[in-house]
Amino acid sequence: MRLLVVEDDPELGRRLTERLRAADFAVELATSRSEAEDWPDVGRMGAVILDLGLPDGSGLDLLRHWRDRRLETPILILTARGSWQDKVEGLNAGADDFVVKPVRFEELLARLNALFRRQQGTRATTIAAGDLALDPVARTATLAGAPLALSRQEFRLLHLFLRRAGQVLSQTDILDDLYALDDEREPNTVEVLVGRLRRKIGRTRITTLRGHGYRFDK
């Protein structure tokens, strides 16, 4: 899943990006308000982690700007401003959660996962489809109760399919979710990954739509 981190402190930005990547997210980093505002596909991000104190403007204004343009991506504010006035203002401006620095990484991760679950309209940690179940927090997947051995990329792909079950996902959609923009992308990566996943979860679950992409059937 792709995340956009908007953080002006270079050291903190680097560390956050590193740890989120280690937790299997594809992370993009914007270091200013203008860079974040010009980001081409914020709408297709899994979530945005937004700092409020940016050098060229307020993160709160950026948040309002996005929400005014009907951007529905979950946004988590991660800021040093810890007053309740800031929190109330941030949440009312359209943030989905508000976390004050410093935060333990596990807590940040738990809050992000809670955001994803909330967006899918479920409060359960596990996403299930038929006898297939995936727990993004525990990073485990089971088929008919038996644990599945998935590589990191396979897990992320399955997570994406489960989140958007029934929808047609193009190769670009899949690549965007799995890789950050500056990562190297092989054109046949998706085909290879889908093939590997089919072998592990069953051939019939993922339908190929020629010229359109793939669809995970519920």
């Binding site: 007053s83 309740w84 410093p102």
Partner: protein, 452 residues
């Protein structure tokens, strides 16, 4: 017109004006009565003197030796029985002649003992009387005594009637002067009344500064106060910005330290060092949060500026809480449709309410109810109830201690209630926790300030 209260400028003016009017009118009354009485007495006496002369002029001795008048006296009152106007002419060896009005008694002739007209107060046929008299030699060289007498009550009646009329008119004039005096005071003090009302609105947090235009004498006072208010507001705003900047300066490096500590704690050879760093970073974070919350506080009570408007201030907090605690229902129950304005700092009040609602949201199973009781005379109680597990009674006092966390699994710093209690103390509000029917109930009570 407003009723004057003890110690007020209005009462002072009213007393001064009343005294001024009463002294003035009293002096007019006294001198007018004196002058009039004197004048009336004088003309009265002159008239009697004329009458006694006329009596002398009209008196004749008839050929048979009787005393007769050539014609009646010109004043008809001497002819009416007991009219109070009497005359008498006596001469030795002759029958006395008396006025027709004198149907009884006689006049004392001793006043008429010299050719010069004399007068004194005597007792007459109908009470005390002013008596004039003189003597003249008769044809036989005998003394003829002429006496004219008028009841003193007649003069008194004249003077009393005048005094009564004068008193009535002067009383009316005094009432008119007092009424106009009071009206002038009211008119003159109206700017001060407006100032007092503007102060009250300011004190109750309904306005942000002293509103209205005032006369030249008090305009500088209002302007200075407004300048002071703005300065004060700016100082608090600056303190908050500085607190925010300080938070940013401290928390960003602390976030990096925490991250480094977490990384260290993941490796066997640096686990202990990482744990120590994490502990210390946690302690630092707690101190930063606590001290910054205190630095942000506007010292609670609002000396000026717009205060807390209930229930308006609650609504954005509830919307924020619904986002922060999805799946939990936040319900507002207001005891009245009316708005209440509390003279408190809205930022501090928001902080306290948010802490209480966030706590309730964390512990509630499904529902948090915030109820505002009927606001009365500036006072108000807000109760926040959750349907969570509550706190054992014995542990309630500890809940307000810095760093108390009842469940380490529930996110939080353990500072919320300590900060809320500090802010409440500064605001003059009372914060209590109690186990209610369904869970914990936090009550934020702000007493009425109308008595101040």
């Amino acid at each position: 017109m407003r009723w004057p209260v003890p110690g007020s400028l209005r009462l002072r003016f009213l007393l001064a004006v009343s005294l001024w009017v009463l002294l003035g009118i009293g002096a007019i009354w006294f001198s007018a009565v004196r002058i009039f009485s004197h004048h009336v007495e004088q003309s009265y006496h002159e008239e009697l003197e004329v009458h006694v002369r006329e009596l002398g002029g009209l008196t004749e001795i008839a050929p048979d030796g009787r005393i007769v008048l050539s014609r009646p006296l010109s004043d008809p009152r001497y002819a009416e029985p007991l009219s109070g106007f009497y005359w008498q002419v006596t001469a030795e060896g002759r029958a006395p002649l008396r006025s027709a009005s004198m149907t009884r008694g006689r006049l004392d002739e001793s006043i008429a003992h010299s050719p010069e007209i004399l007068h004194r107060l005597n007792s007459g046929p109908t009470g005390p009387a002013i008596t004039y008299g003189y003597t003249r030699k008769g044809p036989a060289g005998e003394d003829i005594h002429f006496v004219i007498s008028t009841d003193q009550s007649e003069l008194d009646r004249l003077i009393n009637s005048f005094t009564r009329d004068l008193t009535a008119w002067l009383a009316a004039l005094a009432a008119l002067l007092l009424a106009t005096g009071f009206a002038i005071i009211s008119f003159g003090l109206r700017p001060l009344d407006r100032l007092a009302r503007a102060f009250a609105r300011l004190r109750h947090g309904e306005t942000e500064e002293l509103e209205g235009r005032y006369p030249a004498e008090i305009a500088p006072l209002a302007a200075d106060l407004n300048a002071y208010i703005r300065q004060n507001e700016a100082m608090i705003a600056r303190a908050r910005v500085q607190a925010g900047n300080l938070a940013h300066c401290l928390r960003t490096p602390l976030a990096i330290i925490t991250d480094e500590a977490e990384r260290l704690a993941q490796h066997d050879d640096s686990r202990a060092a990482g744990a120590v760093l994490l502990d210390q970073a946690g302690a630092m974070e707690q101190q930063i949060e606590y001290q910054l919350a205190r630095a942000r506080s506007g010292a609670g009570r609002k000396p000026s500026g717009r205060g807390v408007v209930l229930p308006d201030v609650v609504l954005p907090i509830l919307r924020a809480m619904e986002r922060l605690h999805p799946g939990k229902r936040f319900t507002l129950v207001s005891g009245s449709d009316q708005r209440a304005v509390l003279p408190l700092d809205p930022v501090d009040y928001t902080e306290v309410l948010s802490i209480l609602l966030d706590n309730a949201g964390k512990w509630a199973r499904s529902e948090v109810t915030i109820s505002i009781d009927q606001p009365h005379a500036g006072g108000c109680t807000v109760a926040i109830a959750d349907d969570g597990p509550g706190i054992p009674e014995a542990q309630i006092p500890q809940a307000f201690a810095v760093g108390t966390r009842f469940d380490p699994e529930v996110a939080g710093s353990g500072l919320g209630l300590a900060i809320a209690r500090d802010l409440c103390d500064a605001m003059g509000a009372e914060l209590t926790l109690a186990n209610g029917a369904g869970g914990l109930v936090a009550r934020l009570h702000y007493p009425s300030t109308s008595g101040e």
